[in-house]
Symmetry: C2
DNA sequence: CGACGATCGATAGTAGACAATCTACAAAAC
DNA sequence: GTTTTGTAGATTGTCTACTATCGATCGTCG
């Protein structure tokens, strides 16, 4: 069945952990990431660290200066409006296609994510909020049935969340996502898209 | 002066060359790219080759299977409509901002690219067509004054061109681009955007 | 006070080795 | 005859160690 492709290579594991650290705000803007330190921290060699940093740089989470290192990227407010439009377009495309594939099992998974998101919001746990927010949207992307959408979506939403986690009031996150899942459960495609658009801003 | 930041690192040079080979169709869908062979071909070590392949994989031009190598990606027609919408949104955003920065020098550069594009179309030189087509759009992206737009634009347009160079009738390319530049020279923002939208499909 | 240059720190790239694992083909079992 | 198993080869994934190069810093000197 739909098995979760656990990160196999060291590069992917490292990339996932650093990505989570950046998006949750545990690593703040401008923080320098040194290959040697990360290699020691994760008990691996520098090679997969290099690969992971290059990958995250392409996703827009880090900025690299040749021979000088990588830092956590700075937010560019003038790009936000573009990113909002792009993300809406990708996720609406995915959601429309996902309506052909929603099952009770997937809706159950969405419910669980919303529940965790509610707990995170009540606890004001920013890392958990970001994690479950992205997990919910990613489930929709995965359910679209087009695996090509994920790599298009990820760099866009990563750049958005970089801003989101720092400057936005995200305590409404739970209500907005509950509305999306509610519309999905009701099979109301129009309402689901409206709720999705309202959430992405 | 506005110097062209020629690819500095070996990784970038290799990535640029392989990207051009893929987009021009010199490397066909499914072709396997082996690190050892590429390292020998370019007379460099495997490390920058690996980096370049990882980068191009994230751009969607290559697909990687763990421990098995990378191949030139296959075209996914069901994603094209999404890509068209995304690309229009990015380029319209860039073009609007670029109108604040167009100079005679930049318009001269656009004219030269259109001229080369005309020659390429007449010679039916697919590689040159794709190269100058992308160069023209990239000049607009660069002129937007927001360097963050380029890394957002590149993976989208790369995926599009992968399809474009193979399945589209591209001999109209010259006329469409001449219309864009003509509207830019006239300072007619509305006409320029309309011509741009007509070109991106 | 400012310009210049040495030094330092970090990455970029090189070289070679080994481990993990995927593909394919051939042999054995049913 | 079909399926399973096993083995060999090829390729990437990772590691180690080293050199080259670039950017930033900090003194020193004019």
């Amino acid at each position: 069945m739909s098995e979760i492709p656990v990160a196999r290579t060291i590069r992917e594991q490292v990339a996932d952990r650093i990505r989570a650290d950046v998006l949750s705000g545990r690593l703040t803007e401008g923080t320098s990431l040194r290959e040697h330190a990360l290699a020691k921290q994760y008990s691996v060699s520098r090679a997969p660290i290099r690969d992971a940093l290059l990958q995250l740089t392409q996703e827009g989470l880090l900025v690299a200066k040749p021979n000088c290192g990588v830092r956590v990227a700075a937010v560019k407010p003038e790009t936000q409006s573009l990113l909002v439009g792009l993300r809406r377009q990708v996720e609406e495309f995915a959601l429309k296609n996902a309506f052909k594939h929603f099952t009770d099992e997937i809706i159950e998974k969405l419910d669980q994510t919303v529940a965790r998101l509610r707990n995170a919001c009540e606890a004001e746990d920013l890392a958990a909020i970001v994690e479950n927010d992205m997990a919910l949207h990613r489930t929709i992307i995965d359910t679209s049935g087009n695996p090509e959408v994920l790599p298009i979506w990820l760099p866009i939403v990563s750049r958005m969340m970089l801003h989101y986690g720092r400057h936005s009031n995200i305590m409404d996150s739970h209500r907005e996502h509950a509305a999306i899942v509610s519309a999905i459960r009701a099979g109301d495609q129009k309402a689901a898209i409206a709720a999705l658009r309202a959430n992405i801003q």
